[in-house]
């Protein structure tokens, strides 16, 4: 089962809506071994596609290093499907490379309601699990979301004096 705070789910849904009709993707990190998603990091979809997502390789390196330094792991890896159900596609299954993660899918195909489902994907085997949305286990003001190109350690400003 995935237990996740409502404020984090809200932030994930907002990200998926913002990027619709392109697929949105990101991570919710948590302390290693805790199975508790705490820190929401929306990632750039380097593919910028309605049917495909891919983390930017350099952004992923920075985030994975940062999680390592903070003794965190990717508890949740999420992405959206924008025209189909929230169920892992064959592509999702073949590329799933984090056996310890909850793969959260959000479908934004309906404008007024979201479908949110979670799966374990290990060695090509998909197992759906219940999602328990909890209220205020995390202080909503403490939920950290970062915009593209930003992380807690660095802020990449778009404007340079060139």
């Amino acid at each position: 089962m995935l237990s996740i705070d409502r404020s984090i789910i809200d932030a994930i849904v907002a990200h998926a809506r913002r990027d619709h009709p392109d697929e949105a993707c990101g991570v919710v990190a948590g302390p290693a071994g805790s199975d508790t998603p705490i820190r929401h990091i929306p990632m750039e979809n380097a593919a910028r596609s309605m049917t495909f997502y891919e983390f930017d390789s350099m952004e992923q390196l920075r985030l994975w290093r940062e999680m390592d330094d903070r003794d965190e792991e990717p508890v949740v890896i999420y992405h959206s499907h924008t025209a189909t159900e929230a169920y892992p596609s064959r592509t999702d299954i073949s590329f799933a490379g984090e056996p310890g993660a909850h793969y959260l899918l959000v479908s934004t195909r309906e404008p007024d309601s979201e479908e949110i489902r979670s799966f374990r994907i290990v060695d090509g085997v998909v197992t759906e699990e219940p999602v328990k949305i909890v209220d205020a286990a995390v202080d909503p003001h403490a939920v950290q979301s970062y915009m593209f190109g930003q992380s807690p350690a660095t802020v990449d400003y778009e404007c340079s004096d060139r």
């Binding site: 049917t51 495909f52 983390f55 992923q60 189909t84 999702d92 590329f95 490379g97």
Partner: protein
Amino acid sequence: MAIEVRIPTILRSYTGGAKVVEGTGDTLGDLLTDLDSRHGGLKGRLVTDAGALHRFVNVYVNDEDVRFLGALDAKLTDGDSVTILPAVAGGAFGFAAAAAIAQHSAAAAAIARHSAGAARVARH
């Protein structure tokens, strides 16, 4: 001195659970061959039958993606740090379908690379 290699969770079954291993080699290809001699099977997870780096594995030398350093031909020197990460990717439709429909550039590049790999094999 040797080259430090950081292994992702999904490949630690090849390294007896170790997160960091060491190896030697003048290029990334040589390093992977050296690692494979002690961690049998590891190279096969990173390199295709056609001898190219898998599209959905990210390998970095120090802070650079090896795709921009010559992939398996990327030069290494003692003291370098190599990081391997599974790419995080997926999407609603099949990969080939996504390439065909959306003309997805990464997918097209991967297919081109596979074709190039196949051509190389055919010439041998």
